[in-house]
């Protein structure tokens, strides 16, 4: 009878399982294998070619650098905001949170395009600066790393704020007040009690922002174009423009492994207690 229950459960689970195996697992394995095949046989050719390409290395480290900066900025700007939001009255807080969630729901193309308007040659910033006669001709803001950073920051900022607010909300009640009553100053209470307890939210938010930034396509595509390539836009270029499938598979494997490694690494920072 127990075996019967087990079989019945598998019946329920099987369609989803089959679907994922066929269209998720196998294609991934396929490109993994494909990356090692050149001229009909097993070979490291694609990897050698890719890794020896200095452009690739530049692009790779640039992607990591940009993602890191975005994450740092997200924490720097997001933590204070989260603190403020977490302390608000539940009604106002819910409203603000729903606004933030709203921005997440909006199409990434639309969101990134807005920056296009702001940073373009005749965009907001340039218009503003030239109207104040600070500059003589338009500053090139678009198609730079800075542009991508700003765009990614705006895109992923909510993903940092939401888990943080959640973590701060879920602090054991009265913990901060208990610390204050025991003699801790406001900042001491924060750094020794509140901040450490919010680490879980910080790690979650950080992971989301970092991995999101490395794998983002829309923002680097629109704000970086062909001038400032990241891993994602490189992948697109190699596959859909250059039809360098071998190279493309390598880029995708590299991206995949980096993302997984990142997840693992950041997971270490999760607090042991719960």
């Amino acid at each position: 009878m127990k075996k019967f229950v087990s079989m019945r459960s598998w019946l329920l689970v099987f369609p989803a399982f089959l679907f994922l195996v066929l269209f998720f697992l196998i294609p991934l394995l396929y490109i993994f294998v494909e990356s090692f095949i050149s001229k009909g046989g097993f070979s490291f050719f694609h990897y050698q070619e890719t890794f020896s390409d200095s452009a690739f290395r530049t692009i790779y480290f640039r992607s990591i650098k940009i993602s890191f900066l975005v994450t740092l900025l997200a924490v720097a700007l997001g933590y204070p905001s989260a603190l403020v939001i977490a302390k608000m009255r539940p009604n106002k807080r819910a409203f603000i949170m729903s606004l933030i969630i709203l921005t997440l729901m909006v199409n990434s193309v639309a969101r990134t395009f807005a920056w296009f308007v702001i940073m373009g040659r005749f965009g907001l910033i340039n218009q503003f600066l030239s109207s104040l006669s600070i500059i003589n001709h338009p500053v090139k803001i678009l198609f730079t790393e800075q542009a991508i950073i700003i765009g990614l920051l705006q895109l992923f900022f909510p993903l940092m704020v939401l888990p943080l607010v959640s973590a701060l909300e879920n602090l054991p009640a009265g913990v901060e007040e208990a610390a204050r009553s025991l003699g801790a100053s406001k900042s001491k209470a924060f750094f020794r009690i509140v901040f450490p307890l919010s680490t879980e939210g910080l790690v979650l938010g950080g992971t989301l922002v970092f991995t999101g930034s490395i794998t983002a396509y829309t923002t680097p595509a629109i704000l970086g174009g062909n001038k400032v390539l990241m891993l994602s836009t490189l992948l697109y270029q190699k596959s859909m423009v250059l039809f360098d499938w071998g190279g493309a598979t390598v880029v995708s494997i590299v991206m995949l492994l980096t993302t997984i490694a990142l997840n693992r690494a950041l997971h270490q920072f999760k607090p042991k207690y719960s």
């Binding site: 229950v5 087990s6 459960s9 598998w10 689970v13 989803a16 399982f17 994922l20 269209f23 196998i26 294609p27 991934l28 396929y30 490109i31 700007l77 204070p80 403020v84 939001i85 302390k87 603000i96 729903s98 606004l99 969630i101 709203l102 921005t103 997440l104 729901m105 909006v106 199409n107 193309v109 639309a110 969101r111 395009f113 807005a114 920056w115 308007v117 702001i118 373009g120 005749f122 965009g123 907001l124 218009q127 990614l152 895109l155 900022f157 993903l159 939401l162 959640s166 989301l208 999101g212 794998t215 983002a216 396509y217 829309t218 992948l235 697109y236 995708s252 991206m255 993302t259 997840n263």
Partner: protein
């Protein structure tokens, strides 16, 4: 007192940063010039009219909606039973299976789309729409399973057992007792998945083809060749549309409850 001003200004700055770009987008969409200028010189709804009449975008929109509906439905059909089994039964390999079902979230959408593209090539002529449909279903599945699981775990098993004790088979119990009570959870999952599909870029990027492209991809393609307020107008329309759907969902379901701790591919 000083603290209050600090808090307020932080909040205001944050919101200017988050929402400001949208505002600018809105305003410049009403421009009359053929290039994007901010602030616009004259007020006009010309670009809105234009974009709404363009076949390219009309088709893309239809494709997006069709795609979202189909993949959300299939994801629900295969995902809900899996969520139910995971929540109520214990069986061989359950932990590994649960991990497997949530793994598409960890894999970047780009990679999912790319791997599917290479995989489908093996099969020769593959309908583009079918490819898109499969890709979208893959990325929607984890959300469906996650949200439905959460709903189910809030539903008392003893109520199901009571139904069984009164003579209802497990299947009947599911449809007569469980489903009516997790309806809001399932609907929330539906809306979440639908919007995710509509907004998707990474998976659709590789799986789109000539004539068959969802709206975001179509927008990107257009931007490669043209630089005019068409996209601004379209973006504005989309944003308003999204706001509308989310508000409706929020009012009827309290959607934000399901989203704390959400992982998302949004680019």
């Amino acid at each position: 007192m000083k603290k209050q001003w600090l808090s307020l200004s932080i909040l205001i700055l944050t919101f200017i940063f988050l929402l400001g770009p949208f505002l600018i987008l809105f305003i410049s969409a009403f421009g009359s010039e053929s290039t994007i200028i901010f602030p616009p010189k004259k007020f006009s709804i010309f670009w809105f009219q234009k974009v709404l009449n363009m076949h390219m975008f009309q088709n893309a929109f239809k494709t997006s909606v069709f795609l979202a509906t189909a993949s959300t439905f299939v994801a629900l059909i295969i995902g809900v039973p899996a969520a139910y089994a995971s929540n109520r039964f214990s069986y061989w390999g359950k932990e590994t299976l649960n991990l497997f079902f949530t793994s598409p979230i960890i894999v970047p959408g780009l990679i999912i789309g790319f791997s599917l593209l290479r995989f489908f090539v093996l099969f020769g002529n593959f309908s583009i729409f079918l490819g898109l449909f499969i890709g979208h279903t893959i990325i929607l599945l984890p959300y469906i399973i996650r949200v439905v699981s959460a709903s189910l775990s809030n539903f008392d098993t003893s109520i199901e057992e009571a139904a069984v004790s009164l003579g209802a088979s497990r299947l009947k119990t599911f449809f007569l007792v469980v489903l009516p009570n997790v309806r809001s959870g399932v609907t929330a999952a539906f809306i979440l998945a639908f919007i995710t599909s509509l907004n998707d870029v990474p998976v659709s990027l590789f799986l789109s083809g000539p004539g068959v492209a969802p709206l975001p991809i179509q927008m990107l393609t257009y931007m490669e060749y043209y630089f005019d307020p068409t996209i601004t107008a379209l973006s504005t329309i989309l944003i308003v549309f999204t706001i509308f759907i989310v508000q409706v969902a929020e009012k009827t379901l309290g959607l934000s409850g399901f989203l704390s701790g959400r992982r998302n591919e949004i680019s």
